[in-house]
Structures are given as structure tokens and as C-alpha cells.
Amino acid sequence: MTSEKEIVIKTDKLTKKFGDFIAANEITFEVFKGEIFGFLGANGAGKTTAMKMLIGISKPSSGNATIAGFDVYKETEKIKKSIGYMSQKFSLYEDLTINENIQLFGGIYGLSDDEIEKRRNELINKLNLQSEADKLVASLPLGWKQKLAFSIAIFHTPKIVFLDEPTGGVDPITRRQFWDMIYEASHNGITVFVTTHYMDEAEYCDRVSIMVDGVIKALDSPAGLKKQFNANSMDEVFIMLARDAKRGE
């Protein structure tokens, strides 16, 4: 949080309205390079809406934001080149093989054939998928799909990777492995912006923000938040903030 850190996401009163409904209300925060930024909130708090504005597929109603230095209104296509994204819905092509998915997304982000081949080999070896590489993604267990989806989201080494509830429905061991991968990415200088439901995961983040009813209610490091709310765990912090929520599941 020192000033020499490079800011990669900066939002200023970013707002999204759907008719009378304010899904995200004047959101203001900054995310620094290499940071793991946890974006928390109950269902319907406006996390996904906010994230969609940041990744350039939803136009804000008002406010400003820059992602990797590009404006969310005018430079969405430049933003898209600098980010990776893994959606809540599993979004690899199930009817393509692992190799074919890797090649597709490598190609879309403009990597050269040699580069794709080199990184693909590394990736397959790292994930130990040598024997599955030519099988359809549909045949993989969910945990593997998620790990693969994450690897593909950072395949083109983006500046920032956005993860929308990446570990939903995965067993604890796989979640642990998944977070190891996130740490590794962050270590390599990729900023990680992650939404999650799991409060234990929030503890792994450098900083977390908690959204309630479209507004950011708190933003600090997990330790800082616990101190601020005089709580023992992130769980307690979250419950304290979210119990007054009007919207919900």
C-alpha cells in the first residue's frame, strides 16, 4: 500500500444501473500490480456486475475506471488484450480437446505458433495431463477443468486475471492446489482479481473488499479487517457486514 506500487486497476465512483435498480453504486478502489485482490459479497451484492464493467463487457452507467491504464469506456478492446478471465460458468469448449482449447485461446490472444507450442508443452507437463491432452474437455473431472480454465486464462500472460468464483463446487484438495496456482501467477507479476464465497479463501488474499447491496462496505488486508471489526475470522467480519443486507439470495 505504499505509493511506489504501480496501480493496475483504478475505479472512481463506478456505477451500474438497470432501470431503477442500482446494481453497483459508486464503487471506488485501487488494485496494485502483483496483488491478489479478493472481491467479496453475498449473492446479489453486485460483484459480478462490477467485474463485468472492469473486463469491458458491460458499459458503466457513470463513474470512471482504468484497467491496465486503459479507459473502460473507450478502450475496452485494449483492456481485453491485457487481461485474462475465468467465468463462474465453466467456459472452455467441452467438445474440443485440451490441446485444441489451448491452441484456440493462444491463437485468439495473438501468440505465435512456436510460442503456443512451447507454452502448451510446459502447461501440459505442469498439470500432468500428458495422457489426457487429446481427450475432450468434457471427459475431465470438474477440478481439472477449473485448473485448466485458469491456466488458459493466464496462458497469454495477461497483466491482470479476473476470476469469478473459480473454485465453486471443487473439493478442498483441488482448491488448495488451485490457490497454489494463483500464488504462482501473482509471484510472476500477474495481478489477480478474484471473487469468492469461501471466507477461508479470503484469508489468502493480500487485500479484500466486501460489497453489500451494491456498495463497498470495507476494504483492507484480512488482518486489518479483523482488527477493524474486532473479529477472529473473516467469516465473522463478513457476517457482521452482510447481515443487514436487503438484497440476497
Binding site: K52, I55, G56, I57, S58, K59, T76, E77, K78, K80, K81, I83, Y85, S87, K89, F90, S91, L92, Y93, E94, D95, L96, E100, Q103, L104, F105, G106, G107, I108, Y109, G110, L136, F162
Partner: protein, 372 residues
Amino acid sequence: MRTLKFLLRKEFLQIFRDKLILRMIFALPVVQLILLPYAATYEMKNITLSVVDHDHSEYSRKLINNFTSSGYFRLVDYSKTYSDALGQVEKDKADLIVEIPEGFERDLIREDETKVLIAANAISGQTAGLAVAYANTIIRDYNNELRIQWIQQPRLNAIPVIDITSSNWFNPQMNYKMFIVPGVLALLVTLVGFLMSSLNIVKEKEIGTIEQLNVSPIKKYEFILSKLIPFWVLGLFVMTVGFFISFIVYGIYPAGSFWVGYLFAGIYLIALLGFGLLTSVYADTQQQAMFISYFFMLIFILLGGLFSPIENMPDWAQYLTYINPVSYFIEAMRMLVLKGSSFWDLRYHFLIVIVFAIVFNGLAIFKYKKTV
């Protein structure tokens, strides 16, 4: 452009991976093209006939005989009364009733004039009209036969006669298959292309994979092209198979140039697929896309002139056919296959489908938003 290469590879891989769909889009058109044109015939061979002969004379028997030996009619029964015969029509046993009155022969000879009653089941006006026309011809011919017997024909006509000769160009044997095969082929290519393209983008929407593409730096035109090209290739392939079958099964091949045919089909498919993609971009679910395509396909086909000539339609319906790409394709295919029309003959058809192609694809690119 490099991105396009990867996207195309993906689309082709996906098409070839779904074997059920792949088999269907080849097998269904092939089987239909082989079988269905045989069904499309107005040539009447088995008009069922119920005769009510009150005269039982030599002449009445001869007339009946002329009916049965014509090849058009099949005598199913002799009814005693007209109402018995009506019963046969009611039960769908007979299509046509011929009633010969008592004194048929006598009146003909003595009064120079006699009468025959023909009654047809006219629920289908078209077939009734044809059946009655055949019956009339037989009666007229029989009448002439009788006259020749009774009058010594002078060498020169006694009265002025306009001698009408008619010839049928482009299809002298009046082979209905020549007409229907190019039309059915055009229709099948259209159905395959449209059904595939109209569901494609919306399927990615529904499954959620489109989001992954939307957050990537893919250009809109690249995306649309990657969806267009595979179905374009597929459509032309189905057409090639269709031409092949037309030749093998029906001996029909274009009297005009193959290249003009492919050029036209190529441009037409771009237009059609553009419309399909537009549907896909517009719809929220595959189900919706299907209903929309069902709606348009059916109207396009009904007003496409496949079975019923466009010229016979009322003006408002004819105006509708101007904005119906399918009618241009069916017409162009027929002109090309039967008449051997050249590129120059088809220049307006070309111009119009080019406009369609630009408008539909332009709209599809414009309407496709990478945002939610």
C-alpha cells in the same frame, strides 16, 4: 486475420465432432432429394372413376371405353344411380363421376345434340380442374371421332379453323421432376445452412462459452466470419452432393454453367447465413432462435415459389417475395438448370443477393455486441 485462422479451426473441429448432426445434414437432404421429387407429380394416372350409365348403348359403352383406355382413368365401379356414385366420392373411392343419360345415343343421332354429366371431387381445386380437363378432352375426341364417321370430311376445311400448335420449351417432355428437383435442392441447401447458422451463436450464449470470447480481443467481424465460413463450405458441399444426385438419379444437370451456379450459390449462402447469424445474435436462447427460424423459413418457403408460381400471387404477396432471398435462389437454380441462363441473364438476381448479403451480415456484425 491470424485470429480468424484459430477460430475457424475451432468451428470446423466442433462441426466434425458432432457426428449425429453431421450425419443428419448429409443424410436427410440426400434421402429427401432421392425420394421426394417422385412424389411431386400432378401427372394424373389413376383418377378413379365411377360411371353411371343409364343408356347402356353401344355409344355409351364406347365412350366409357375411351375413358378407361386413355391411361388417365381407372374405373372403380358402375353405379346404378347418381347418388350411389356420390357415395363413392364421399368414401374417397372415386374422384370423378361420369353420368350418361338415358337416350344418349338416340339424342345424338336424332337431335344432333346430347349431354354427359361430369362431377369431380373439387376439394382440391387443382386436381379437380386437371381431371375435368382430361375428361373433356376424351369426350371431345370421341365427339370428333363420331363426326368423322358420320360426315364425309372435305379436303379443305369447310369452316375457317385456327390451327393451334403448342410447344414446350426447356422441358419438352413436360417432366415435372426437371422443375421440382432444382427447387427441392435449393430448399434443402437453404434449410441446412439456415438451421445450422441460426443456432450457432446462441448456443455459445446459452452454454456460456461466448463470454470467454467476448472478454478476448477478437474483432467482431472476425467472430462473424468464423461462424459464416464453415457453414458456407458445408452449404456448398451439400449442394455439390445434391448436383451429383440430381445427375445420377434424375439425369438432371445444369444446362448453364456450373461456375455461375456455384458463384450464385456462394453469394446466396453468404446472404442466407448472414440472416441466420442475425437471428442467432438476436435470440436469447436456442429455443427462441429455433422458433424465429421456423417462422421465417416457413414463410420464405411458402412464398418461394417452390410449388406454386409467384406470378399467380396477389400483388401484396408478390411484394413480399421481393424481400425473400429463397425465391431468388429457387428461381435462379431453375433458370440455370433448365434454361441454361447465363451470368448476364441472372444479373439482377446476382445484384439482389449481393445486397441481401451486405445488409444481413452488416446487421449481424452491428447487432453482435461484445457487451452484456
